[in-house]
């Protein structure tokens, strides 16, 4: 078990609990917009609880890898310098963007990330619906170049924790749109609602962690539109609240596909989610293209949100 001396997520846990309680209670009395469902909430919170334990299983290995890389660093960057924290903030957030994009656009990493998107609700408990298999999927390796550059691994770990804590509060329908300068620069509840939406227009958009500017730079930005309310969840929503199925269904799906058609193993593993050799399944790109074609015929929104 290896943790940085200052772990922002651990420090923020009482805040997470207090704000979920607040959102449930205020939502119950109609003081803010919040939709909860008991089993959905239970799944989200149990996923989060077990995720913290599952993360420990691989945390040692990933931290040891970072330490080893750091021993071969190109520069020595001091943890005490303000410029170093500014720089690590920017580079960590950029790394997060590409980690997150990879986690949506390639099935192997989507298998670890899909559970975070599996709720049909969007509230603070959804933020805690975290992966059990992220460490095994190995995406932590994407942060190793920061240690190679010379950022101390603990500094990177703290910055990752800050990013995770930041992303907690944006999982809510209680906050509408923030002032334009904030929406222009930062990832906000509005931008992240789009990210969790399953409407074809909104699929695979807004991968940002803290700064939304990466999406604008790399062409994946989509603002939330008044005329199209977000519908949350997966393209094909789960038909079970069994947490084991929530955690592992995509991994099992990959295994089943490979066993059925082993010669397409690379495609099943690293194709986009929904890829199939004969194109009979739905990728985000296909769903978006079909939606665009329908829009060309009937441009009005197909249906108000449920």
């Amino acid at each position: 078990m290896m943790k940085a001396a200052l772990d922002p997520v651990t420090l923020a846990t009482p805040f997470f609990i207090a704000t979920v309680i607040l959102e449930i209670v205020l939502g119950r009395f109609g003081k803010l917009k919040a939709r909860y469902e008991t089993k959905d909430t239970a799944v989200s919170l149990v996923m989060g609880l077990v995720s913290s334990a599952a993360g420990l299983l691989t945390a040692g290995a990933s931290f040891a890898a970072a330490v080893w890389i750091y021993q071969h660093r190109l520069f020595t960057i001091p943890m005490t310098a303000v410029w170093a924290w500014v720089l690590v903030f920017l580079l960590e957030d950029l790394t997060y963007y590409w980690f997150h994009r990879l986690s949506h656009e390639r099935r192997f990493w989507w298998a670890a990330h899909v559970n975070h998107h599996s709720s049909q609700h969007y509230n603070l408990s959804t933020a805690l619906r975290q992966t059990w298999t992220g460490g095994v999927a190995g995406t932590w390796a994407l942060w190793l170049p920061l240690s190679l550059l010379g950022f101390p691994p603990a500094m990177v770990a703290i910055e990752k924790g800050i990013s995770l804590v930041y992303q907690y509060w944006i999982h809510t329908e209680a906050i509408g749109r923030l002032p334009a300068p904030v929406e222009a620069v930062f990832n906000t509840p509005s931008h992240h609602r789009v990210h969790h939406a399953r409407n074809p227009r909104y699929l695979d958009r807004n991968y940002a962690g803290i700064l939304i500017v990466w999406d604008k730079m790399f062409g994946s930005f989509q603002p939330e539109l008044d005329e199209e309310a977000c519908r949350y969840g997966l393209v094909r929503n789960l038909g079970t609240f069994n947490v084991l199925r929530v955690a592992f269904h995509e991994w099992i799906g990959i295994a089943q596909d490979i066993l059925r058609q082993p010669r397409h193993t690379l495609g099943w593993l690293f194709g986009p989610p929904g890829w199939s050799p004969d194109g009979s399944r739905d990728t985000s790109a296909k769903l978006k293209a079909e939606w665009a074609a329908r829009q060309a015929v009937a441009p009005a929104p197909e249906r108000e949100a449920a």
Partner: protein
């Protein structure tokens, strides 16, 4: 590497984790109980035909619903669209939707007033619908 604080810090974190986990687990119980209280009596209404068609239009855009049969308790339904059966089944206050070959849906037999449709999907293994009469008389002939 140092900000770890050495073996003593490591031991302290290791010892504290079970306590932290236990407290978090208790908090999870509290939050779930609160959610149950907050949503009591506020479940989703039973599906009517219009709502079911709207869900199906969302879930299967471009597929024409030729006929629709709702579950007796309004917690789902089956629609026919050509050679496909489009299935809706309640998940919390929402729905999970899948399609399966119509012939397969037609062959399913209700038991004790419940129709179980195998969906061949690890993420939604089956839909259990309250349907005492299946297949529909109009279809079964």
């Amino acid at each position: 590497m140092t900000a770890e604080g050495g073996p003593r810090r490591f031991a302290a974190v290791t010892a504290a984790y079970p306590i932290q986990f236990a407290v978090s687990a208790a908090a999870v119980g509290l939050m779930v109980a609160l959610a149950a209280w907050a949503t009591r009596g506020r479940g989703a209404p039973p599906l009517d035909e219009a709502a079911a068609r709207a869900w199906l239009a969302d879930e299967f855009p471009g597929q024409t619903v030729e006929a629709l049969w709702l579950a007796d308790d309004g917690r789902g339904g089956v629609a026919r669209s050509g050679d496909w059966a489009l299935v809706l089944s309640r998940m919390g206050d929402g729905y999970a939707a899948r399609r399966l070959p119509w012939s397969q849906a037609l062959a399913a037999e209700p038991r004790n007033g419940r129709l179980t449709l195998r969906l061949a999907d690890v993420a939604a293994p089956k839909a259990v619908l309250a349907m005492a009469a299946w297949p529909p008389r109009a279809v079964a002939g």
